[in-house]
């Protein structure tokens, strides 16, 4: 048992994560061709517009459709489907917590690949100032509120159905993920109404911004992702956790430096045990980069499955070098 634990803690983490993400990407972008269907309540961007290849559908799509029903319908038995849908989403979510973002989300994986491309080209990455970070982190809550409120307005007849589903229309996953299966139909502007023109044009602009932003800034889109905000509402229920033992932390700052989301609390906070913040994607790079024995750990249902060790740190740092 001890040897298994050592092997896990000393794993070449980046390599493991790369293959895990690749497998998840293939599963959720091409799994539909193998008749895999994991439902329509998935807590990450397995885009529903990828009609042929998807192995499941991101929960934001059905949620917006359900909230867009006529108001009287929301208060009948049909409205219960919203609650059951939310329940299924939460059940999926609590299994991996925000690890869905760090390990499974195809859009997150694409951002990591763009980062790898930039690194390969020798272009330096961008960072936010502390003030910018504080502002950016609020955007996802605003987007989540709009994602929920606009469909309600549509259902109430306040706005056009051409606005539905509002977030999906501007989400880059709608354009990019179907393209991996040869479907480029979303790279269009819809001229059928003024609303449709605005929303599809906005979608194309956000997609362009996504590509440039993710190229220069690690996990650029995750800062503003409304799914990330929705996750955080239920993160207290999750089985998969990131924990920190402040007594063992030397505040060396390694964890902060490797964090794609630039979460400063991971290095500064030594009082709280549950260290996961709303921006965290649970990528566990902080755990892998920590040299202190047991200072950071990932647990599942209270059982430690991966923790920082000095041996693991040294092995990962010496990767590619002869001892």
């Amino acid at each position: 048992m001890r040897s298994i634990r050592d092997a896990v803690n000393q794993v070449h983490f980046n390599r493991f994560r790369f293959w895990f993400q690749l497998a998840a990407f293939v599963l959720f972008v091409y799994g539909g061709y193998l008749a895999i269907d994991l439902g329509s309540r998935l807590p990450f961007f397995s885009c529903g517009y990828n009609q042929e290849g998807r192995a499941g559908v991101c929960y934001l799509l059905p949620l917006q459709h359900q909230l867009g029903r006529p108001w009287p319908m929301l208060f009948t038995a049909a409205g219960l489907s919203i609650l059951t849908g939310l329940g299924i989403f939460v059940l999926w979510f609590i299994f991996l917590n925000k690890g869905w973002c760090g390990f499974v989300c195809p859009l997150g994986t694409l951002q990591d690949w763009l980062t790898a491309l930039r690194r390969g080209l020798g272009i330096r990455y961008a960072k936010y100032s502390h003030g910018q970070f504080k502002q950016m982190t609020k955007v996802k809550y605003v987007l989540l509120a709009l994602t929920l409120l606009i469909p309600l307005g549509i259902g109430g007849g306040l706005w056009s159905h051409d606005l539905s589903p509002p977030f999906c229309l501007i989400c880059p996953a709608r354009m990019i993920l179907p393209a991996f299966t040869g479907d480029f139909s979303q790279f269009t502007i819809d001229f059928s109404s003024k609303t449709a023109v605005v929303m599809t044009a906005l979608g194309m602009m956000v997609t362009a911004l996504f590509v440039v932003g993710s190229f220069v800034k690690k996990r650029f889109f995750c800062f503003i992702c409304p799914m990330s905000a929705l996750h955080y509402l239920f993160s207290k229920l999750a089985l998969f956790r990131l924990k920190k033992d402040g007594d063992k932390c030397t505040r060396c700052g390694d964890c902060y430096r490797v964090c794609d989301l630039e979460i400063k609390e991971i290095a500064d906070e030594v009082g709280k045990r549950d260290i996961m913040t709303d921006d965290c994607t649970l990528c566990l790079k902080c755990v892998a980069s920590c040299p202190e024995e047991g200072a950071l750990k990932a647990t599942f249902a209270g059982i430690t499955i991966f923790e920082s060790t000095e041996a693991g740190f040294v092995r990962r740092m010496n990767k590619g070098h002869q001892p």
Binding site: D37, S40, Q51, P62, H65, P70, P72, M73, T76, A77, A78, S81, A126, H161, M175, F184, S185, F187, T188, I189, D190, F191, S192, S193, A196, T200, A201, M204, M205, T207, A208, L209, V211, V212, G213, V216
Partner: protein, 353 residues
């Protein structure tokens, strides 16, 4: 005679060509080429999901329907209820309510996904209502057959107006959907019927778009009918005729006939098409104690189609805008970074001062 007989058809055109039927080969054959006197100028009966005054066009609230048609009614807490109207006339927009015909007999058969394959009689319409309605408690295809029989001289006219209504919701389980999708869509007892052929890869949320090809199969007692004259009538009344092949198959390209001003354009504009198939046979027998020597068959099937996305979506603008914004963002980032680069400046201290 049943009160449902009040929905029977008015007069139909007489045929001038003899058509024979042969069952031995598993295919019915309508012979006699393309007789000029066989024009389908009679009063055509068909089932629509909207009454004449209401017309078609802009989308209405509701779920499912005939090939995705809306117009579903009923109490929201109960199963969805579909309403259909029997209309007379071969023009989807101009056809009115079917008139009562006391000389004709009428049978209405409803085939449900979980019911008997041969269907069950549909309860009569409520007093004072002109629509036929039925509940759709389960997922799948519902088919209503409205069959009228009427003697016209020595010819028995049999007209089968059919409607195929889909009821698929997001709440269905995968098993329910697969059962519903693979269920037969043919009524073997039907004297004649038209079946819309599913397109390759067709999904539950299928919508026929203008510009697409759509095939139909004409069946008689469940077997393909060769040589039936089939007419496709578009929403605006454009028509095209074809003759069914050995498989009973005939195919039409759905024309684009929706040309509003751009401000009035609606991408969810629901247009109605009508398919009419006719054939006749030298069959003799008795109907209401009267002899006949010929039988004329007519089948109708209504459906819906929508504007093609190619009419209102532009790749050129989409990709153009995307690349332009990509270029703009990339350039902005480059210039921002370049502006912040501070060139190295050597600072020399003059130790003498």
């Amino acid at each position: 005679m049943s009160r449902l007989g009040l929905y029977a058809a008015a007069l139909m055109a007489l045929l001038s060509t003899t058509v024979h039927c042969q069952d031995s080969g598993g295919t019915h054959r309508a012979e006699g080429g393309r007789p000029t006197g066989m024009a389908m100028r009679g009063n055509v009966l068909w089932l629509a999901d909207s009454p004449p005054a209401r017309g078609d066009g802009p989308p209405r609230s509701g779920m499912g329907g005939m090939g995705g048609m809306g117009g579903m009614g009923g109490d929201r807490s109960g199963p969805p209820v579909k309403r259909l109207w029997l209309r007379a006339g071969a023009d989807p927009q101009k056809s009115g309510f079917a008139r009562e015909d006391t000389e004709a007999t009428v049978d209405m058969t409803l085939v449900t996904p979980q019911g008997k394959p041969e269907g069950e009689p549909l309860p009569p319409a409520e007093e004072g209502k002109k629509n036929l309605s039925f509940e759709m408690p389960t997922q799948g295809y519902y088919r209503l057959y409205h069959t009228t029989r009427k003697l016209q001289g020595d010819t028995l006219a049999i007209a089968v107006a059919k409607a195929e209504v889909t009821n698929f919701s997001h709440g269905a389980t995968e098993e329910e959907r697969s059962v519903a999708l693979t269920a037969p869509r043919v009524l073997e007892a039907a004297p004649i019927e038209i079946v819309r052929e599913k397109n390759p890869g067709e999904k539950l949320s299928f919508q026929l778009k203008s510009g697409e090809e759509q095939a139909f199969v004409v069946l008689q007692k469940g077997l393909p009918l060769l040589g039936a004259r089939v007419r496709f009538v578009s929403h605006d009344g454009w028509t095209k005729e074809a003759v069914s092949d050995e498989q009973g198959r005939v195919s039409f390209q759905i024309v684009r006939d929706y040309f509003p001003s751009w401000d009035d354009f609606q991408k969810r504009f629901k247009a109605t098409y009508l398919v009419i198939a006719e054939a006749s046979a030298a069959e003799s027998g008795r109907f209401k104690d009267q002899p006949y020597t010929n039988v004329r068959y007519q089948a109708t099937l209504g459906g819906t189609y929508y504007p093609s996305p190619d009419d209102y979506r532009s790749y050129a603008w989409g990709l153009g805008l995307g690349f332009a914004f990509l270029l703009f963002c990339g350039t902005a980032v480059y210039l921002y970074r370049r502006r912040r680069v501070k060139p190295f400046q050597e600072v020399r201290f003059d130790e003498k001062h």
